[in-house]
Amino acid sequence: MTLPNEDLLQIYEYMLLTRAVDDRIDLLFKQGKIEGVSFSSLGHEAIAVGAAWALGPDDVVAPLHRDLGAYLVRGITPRQVLAQFLGRRTALSRGRDGNTHGMGDLNLGILGYVSPLPDQLPLTLGAAMAFWVRQEPRVALAFFGDGSSSEGAAHETLNLASVLKAPAVFICENNQFAYSTPTKKQFAIENLADRAAGYGIPGVVVDGNDVLAVYDVVHKAVERARRGEGPTLIEAKTMRMRGHAAHDDAFYVPQELLAAWREKDPIRRFEAALRQQGLLSDELAEEIASRVAAAVDDATTFAEKSPFPEGREALEGVFCDV
């Protein structure tokens, strides 16, 4: 798969934007402006952006707490993201849910997630099932973590999806830890992708810090699903580069491990490749960087100026009445 140059530059910009928004979230949290918890997507840019890029406009995605890039690629704006983290009325959840939780928009084909993990897996299977029932050539893609791979919901979903040959793709972001728990305490195997064999579906391991590699395997899996050949389980290996959430200093993560992964930074790597191919000049890099910076500043201003919801709004819209 070779993507047009234009796509490559857009992917690059989305990765930068993802990181810039993430850094801003981190800053806002440190400034005490974000209440509760705050999750970072640092290190996950290649997986989220690369995977989302592989979807068609009518496909559906269920991103998780480290998939900021996927939300952005699918059209959620930095304004909406920061308003969400700041609990404002202008956010997609109108202040009802925090950080990326419940940051869904059906018009954009994005399923919001709930905290119990990995509940977006059966949800995504359901979306795929709708396409399967209606025989539409659409695909649903879900992200989940190494941690939530141990949950019963993961198994039930993978099994039912494989029996139905539902047009779904499941991408497990193995970032070495579930909160403080390293993978070796989570499962007694090397590659989670190997579980695919237990469902009779393809399992693929991919370097989660190589955005084009991610794009590639996801694209293949999406097209396979679209052809009616059923789901694929992809395991993207990466590293969670901040603590579990902003309050967590991740003392339990060996420094050498972090240092080694820092060398593999997905953005620096992709940038180097683009430069080597002559696609990215210093000027263009600067232009993109300043566009990204402006977007994040604009989003910050927007979010901070956005009103909080009023208390009474809490009562509205528990039930849908149309």
Partner: protein, 323 residues
């Protein structure tokens, strides 16, 4: 046409599937076998394997995928083989289905049907009455039909409702009650209790199979000169508070009954509602006739002792009438 409670449910499914192609069914053994109670019998043949999906045993995935498909415009009706197994999908029901519209405006028009209730010697795990749990989970509708007419009309409302609906069929009633119901399309709206019997001395509040026990109790009481009003709540969420309160205010004496165990059952909510909003009209304590706080036992003498019935309701009503 005289149909059983079970046939009425079957008709509602079949008619809604004809009316709206977004409606599809999923669950264990609902296709080839026609469902553990044969509610869905024949629907696979009529609608094919993409609209009547036999799943593996996986309640989490059944409910979760129903929700996801609803977000994509479908109107799934998921069957959980016995209401007792809803516990396996509890997280999906309360955390995903119940909150998505509130949190990010994603409506979840699903129906989760499940046979509940006892009296059929089915033991601790095929007899439960979990309605109170779901009433305490914001965002869910909870429907508990007592008659064949209602079972059909309420299921149609449930399928057409844009919200997640817990539809608790009472398995004791499946083949035990029969009535003439219209052949034309009709719905029974949510939130409207039915006064099954007018009365002036006291109010019996019931739902599901206990409506019939309450009516039987009322007949006995009538012989004794006690004129009982019998309300069938039909839906617990939304609850027809006005009809409940009007009856309580009129008679001043209320006996609440349900098959579920007592503590923190839905009867408590009814009693609390009345103790708050009909207080001035009360002429006696609000009584509850419920199952005790035990699992549902299997052996006939144990289950008979456990399960509320007309005699137990009449006994409480007598005490209250004499108050």
């Amino acid at each position: 046409m005289e149909v059983t409670y079970l046939e009425a449910i079957h008709q509602a499914l079949e008619e809604e599937m004809h009316r709206d192609e977004r409606v599809f069914l999923l669950g264990e053994d609902i296709g080839v076998y026609g469902g553990a109670f044969k509610v869905t019998q024949g629907l696979l043949e009529t609608f094919g394997p993409r609209r009547v999906i036999d799943t593996p045993m996986c309640e989490i995935a059944i409910v979760g995928s129903a929700i996801g498909s609803a977000m994509m415009g479908m109107r799934p009706v998921a069957e959980i083989q016995f209401a007792d197994f809803m516990a396996c999908a509890f997280d999906q029901i309360v955390n995903v289905a119940g909150t998505s519209f509130y949190r990010w405006r994603a409506a979840v028009p699903i129906v989760i049907r499940a046979p509940s209730g006892g009296g059929v010697r089915a033991g601790p795990f095929h007899s439960q009455n979990p309605e109170a749990w779901f009433c305490h989970a914001p965002g869910l509708r909870v429907v508990v039909p007592a008659t064949a007419y209602d079972a059909k009309g309420l299921l149609k409302s449930a399928i057409r409702d844009p919200n997640p609906v817990i539809f608790l069929e009472n398995k004791y009633l499946y083949r035990r009650i029969k009535e003439d119901i219209p052949t034309d399309d009709y719905v029974v709206p949510f939130g409207q209790a039915a006064v099954r019997r007018k009365g002036s001395d006291l109010s019996l509040l019931a739902y599901g199979a206990m409506v019939h026990e309450a009516l039987a109790a009322a007949e006995v009481l009538e012989q004794e000169g006690i004129d009982a009003e019998v309300l069938d709540l039909r839906t617990l969420v939304p609850l027809d508070e006005e009809t409940v309160l009007a009856s309580a205010r009129k008679t001043g004496k209320v006996v609440i009954t349900h098959e579920a165990s007592r503590t923190a059952g839905f009867g408590a909510e009814l009693a609390a509602l009345i103790a708050e909003r009909a207080f001035d009209y009360l002429d006696g304590p609000v009584l509850r006739v419920t199952a005790p706080d035990t699992p549902v036992p299997y052996s006939p003498p144990l289950e008979d002792f456990f399960r509320p019935d007309a005699a137990k309701i009449a006994e409480a009503a007598r005490r209250l009438a004499a108050y």
